[in-house]
Subunit: 430 residues, 4 copies
């Protein structure tokens, strides 16, 4: 474990060398990425920190305080490493799930700085638990990457697309040779003018897959498509993928995992656990999640998927920029009988992984272990599908609790203050 105080383990270099390196950074003679390559990563981190401390007159004792494996983190996750951001982690649960990859209770760690998020989501968990557990299903859509090509016009485009169709097996062979984790599922073209997009979709097993999919596309494009067709690739990512931008294509076709979760809540649970009732919940669902998002021209028809997602992603080492995509989706809350509701969430576009990226970092690995998520080569992809099911259920918990909060607020008011308004009655008897 590394602390801000200089440790003897840094004895690799003497203090004069260290001071000289700090000085050269401060003077601008050397950039942060230009420290000697043979420096131990911990030493490099400390030298950078000291330079910043000096230049900005800011002690970085807390950023320096962490327990990460610096060698790994600085190579696989973050260049010019100086330490960590510590994001508070809270625990929710038990969350009862009735899925294909989880059937039982889990405890869910969320890393967040937003007050009330954990408490509120935890309330949702209790409602779900009382109601017998959330039914969750996940579809493994796959990870996508869409290189963009330039042709001379529609005639060459049609020839190009014909070639692609006729050589799908070759594309698959070359793509899958880049990683035994990959299986090519589809090549979806979109073309107009002199531009062609090929949206490659891969099953990437337990990995989120963005990087391996990019490498596979690079190889396919470089070794096969360009030399064989003479059509130039302008960029390996043509934004028809779409990575980390809200987009209709991802809503329609999905990306990563497509997640469904749902629950039937009877009146007693609505009343005791969520301090609400069916009528009010359905009303706020209608005016907010449906009409409000319509009014706003929104792509997300939900209360706050993004909040729970971000906290879950940071805790479990997912890429937090993917919260953009995960914010798409539709919450439904429908009346059942006179006083129950059926609530569901739908997330069409959730990139997720149980290996790679931030999942190997120490705190994140612990969080995944708490969730019982551990990849098993014998059961390819199952660990991530488990993770996805848990995510679906916890997002449902977050929706239920926040939606209920709106109504109880409203309820309180309704009894107290309405019906005493000074606004004149409408002149027409509508």
């Amino acid at each position: 474990m590394t602390d801000a105080t200089p440790s003897p383990s840094m004895g690799g270099i003497d203090s004069r060398t260290r001071a000289e390196l700090v000085r050269s950074l401060v003077a601008g003679d050397r950039r942060f990425h230009e420290l000697p390559r043979d420096l131990a990563p911990e030493e490099a981190a400390e030298i950078r920190r000291r330079a910043i401390e000096e230049m900005t007159r800011t002690p970085l004792a807390n950023i320096a305080h962490h327990s990460l494996d610096v060698r790994r983190a600085s190579r696989r996750n973050c260049e010019n490493f100086i330490g960590v951001a510590q994001v508070p982690m809270g625990i929710c649960g038990p969350l009862r799930i009735r899925g294909n990859y989880v059937d039982g209770d889990v405890y869910v760690p969320l890393a967040t700085t937003e007050a009330a998020l954990v408490a509120s989501t935890n309330r949702g968990c209790s409602a779900i638990r009382e109601a017998g557990g959330a039914v969750v299903r996940v579809e493994d859509v796959g990870m996508t990457r869409a290189p963009v090509f330039r042709t001379s016009g529609i005639v060459q485009t049609q020839g190009f697309l014909r070639w692609i169709r006729e050589h799908e097996e070759d594309l698959r062979r070359v793509a899958e040779a880049t990683s035994h984790h990959l299986r090519l599922l589809e090549v979806r073209p979109f073309a107009f003018g002199t531009t062609v997009f090929l949206r490659f979709r891969f099953d990437s097993g337990d990995a989120m897959g963005m990087n391996m999919v990019t490498i596979a596309c690079d190889r396919v494009v470089t070794d096969l498509i360009e030399p064989m067709t003479g059509v130039a690739c302008v960029g390996l990512s043509g934004n028809y993928c779409v990575d980390k931008k809200p987009a209709a294509i991802n809503f329609q076709e999905g990306r990563g995992k497509r997640i469904y979760a749902e629950i039937l809540l009877e009146a007693p649970i609505l009343h005791h656990n969520l301090k609400t009732n069916a009528r009010d919940l359905v009303e706020v669902q209608y005016r907010k999640n449906l009409l409000g998002s319509i009014a706003a021209g929104a792509m997300g028809f939900n209360a706050h998927y993004a909040n729970v997602l971000a906290a879950f992603f940071i805790a479990t080492g997912q890429d937090p920029a993917h919260v953009v995509e995960g914010s798409l989706g539709v919450t439904c809350i429908e009346a059942r009988g006179s006083d129950a509701v059926f609530a569901s969430i739908f997330m069409p576009d959730v990139p997720l992984g149980a290996v790679g990226g931030g999942t190997g970092l120490d705190t994140q690995r612990e969080a995944l272990a708490v969730l019982g998520v551990s990849p098993d080569p014998e059961r390819r992809g199952d660990a991530t599908l488990r993770l996805a099911e848990i995510l679906g259920a916890i997002v449902l918990a977050g929706e239920l609790s926040l939606m209920a909060a709106f109504t109880s607020q409203d309820l309180a008011r309704a009894h107290e203050k309405l019906g005493r308004g000074a606004l004149p009655e409408p002149p027409l008897p509508t």
Copy 2:
């Protein structure tokens, strides 16, 4: 500083009591939020951790390793606190900025788990620095919240909206009484059927403002609008705000800060710093950021705002779920003369704060200090505007570097492999 090993400072309770509390959590007799209120927060955290360790057979030594002020974090940021997620932090810069709130060089900490992000963004910083610095401007749009109301139809709606217009001063008075940080800027209505949205927009000074704005709306609705008009508020947030969902209204009207950053890059910088050239950069901009996002039905016309935003947000204690909104925006790269480019980014919807939320956490506070961001009551809002200018410049750096990466790739190929394709020439001489 707290570590996983039981510390004497926890001596507030004896080990038997502690063991009993752990047992009751494990047995489910007690929920995580039901620990005795007089327990020290550090003790409570440890008891929760131990229970989870036992239930999930997962040691949480790393999650336990942190230096946060637990009392503060567990009250203001994260309930059911058990420790932290450690997110690796790297440093970029110097980043040269020519703004109204920064005029000079800054070093930018980014917290990320995505390999290459810091290195790539840092390369963008060097190009910007060589080119004389990014010109950045920020508009303080303000924070919004849009309660949703139910009327009896268009006649009552029109009366209601007339009342709102005629009582704007009253609304302001009540709203601003809830916090001396708030100034009401606008009430924008949107209505159809029996539904009315009132999008309140506030200047919230150096705070991101979501919570204080919600409280102000609650007061205005509860104390003024409902009793005076007799029109019921269905929910304090009607999704016309829009918080954390991608939406047209935020793109059009803005939310939080609206940020512009730009730079002119001559050929030598394109060549030496970015390994690219004007023609290829403009080409990939055209096919990817414009046509690709059009093809995808995207709301973001950029390469990867979300990546840089997420890393910046986590490092500086912003709400990472707001990355959803920040991913909106348009990058432009235009040819200038025969071999230079003019590049710009535009972010219409970036909620940001220099106080509140996660900005008070220890590591995040240090990151803000590195950026020279420190709120000053005498210069209300300036600290956050400085933060926004830095964000604009670092996002521009990230765009430049990634866009250049696409082209150099393409370039390499173009020289090597094109022109040898087997695809027959188009039959028509287009």
Copy 3:
């Protein structure tokens, strides 16, 4: 009145000249717009027709059969005039309206080629009539045009926009000098990179106003903005207007008229007039107009505004390309009590005129007269507002009838066939 058979009134030129002109068109020696300018319009039309008849071996007797004032039509509406398309016109009504500009019954002509549209809409009229009439309100948003400018970047953009704000009175003076029908209401800017859009919004009285607004913008740009600021206008229409493209800005800000219409329908009317019931109507509204349009990524949350609009537009001489904009909007159908519904339509973007464009053509003028729409200089704009109210009510009629048609279909089936399915019961008790 003109018929296909050569009429003595064409005696202006002799038959040899006429034959020679036809021959030159057929031979391609002369283009259709190159006939002698002193030719009577009827003669020119016939000569073109004969040339086409010869070249394509197609008799055009029906296209030739019309009663238009050719001089006017060929000058004000359609160059290279050859005759007319005859579009069948049917009549609906009486339609009972309770608006500010109509209070009573009207008969509505619709020009359509789509079987069942008139009959179905007429059924909706009967329901509305029985229910006491549709409550309709219209807001006169105004006609817009958004020239696009090129600046050197954000600094010049901000100076430019400051200049625009400070010179709004000058802009108004110059703009309004181009037509006494125009009043400038707003200049809404939108800018990023090196591009600035200025969305001018005008009250254009009883005219739809697109052309006069374009002329006004041309003058303002040419005489004032460009010379005074040195900032170049790249195009008089920068697609931020937005004319005839579906767009968020028009949904948010409105364009032309913003129309609201609504009705409360009790059970007997639902049953007798619409062959439906409240429960089924609300159900199809929910799954189709709300969830279906959400699923589709649609901008229109309605059943078929476009159908009724197109028929109304063609009958009354509106620009049928504006159906694109009119298709935006939201239908709501909400349960009231146990067996009534409250239905509403909302059209935020309907360009309409009672003068200009096709409204002066003979058949269209008659249709407007049937609607009681006749511009009166003393009551500027009122004729078009009357037209808008009628449009709102007839669109509501169309929605009610089609939505009911879906349900009765469904109803019939529900009783007959459901509950006998072979699909196994779901394995989980949800």
Copy 4:
């Protein structure tokens, strides 16, 4: 041919009966659709007209003046028939096309009331002709209809969708039995919560196909899906089709015909035919069709597809409400060499037919004949594909001419007025 003056051919009923029928309509004793069924359609039309003339004191001589086959029009196109709207028709061309279904010159009738549209489009035709003809390609996507179903949740939904996949042959058999014109191409599901959409896509040959596809879906749903699965269909159209609403799904997946047209224009043609030049055309394309539509949140990235479409649709008997869908699409104009441009249009969503709907009306039939469009059972679908190719080329002509108009305007100004501005230079040397 029918005229407003009572004709002897109406002698089927005596003048007293006629007067009595008129009186009953005026008195409201009888509705317009309640005339005796044995009345000749011409008589019924006249009686309705007279009643309206009396009630609204409006002579309808022009509406009455037409040459339609009333029996056919009143039965197949328009109930409560009273006459026609006469829409002026002009002629464009010759338009040179190099497609798979047209290779040569055509003359294109456009029915419009918008001054300058025909003249401007005709100018575009001349540029295309001089440049050797537009290259056009069409893909026959097919007509769609998406019934919406209600399930008990995700478990039943997944079972339902499995059943659909496993019974695709049965669905095809039942669907295709309803019309020998139909071939089922795809059933695309979309589901969330308790809602399932099945988007059926059919090849409908030369018919636009909306009606026959609806009938086929009705049969499939009623005879097969509901009885076999026990899952209820809530509405035959669930707005995931999507008919006549702008929507992402149609942009992505296409609907009707997907049309591509393009042309290379050298400097002399730009100069002589279009009064423009490459640089300015590319500039206005960039700022208007790309950035402007992005700024507006538009779904159409073009100048005015809708204008040309509407005129073409009315002339040829298409459904003018489909202009909504046709307005989607992307125009590209790219520089080639120093002074040429390559221009293209892309229309992903154009419902079209050469039989059915309004195509059988007398004037519309003539317009189709002028285009050489005549369905041939031996070459199923080819007539409509020819129509689509012509449409693509004429839309391209319209785009070229309007885009050029913007630039020449701009050009004129640039020389005259720029560089004399009073706006101070930007303070920063960007």
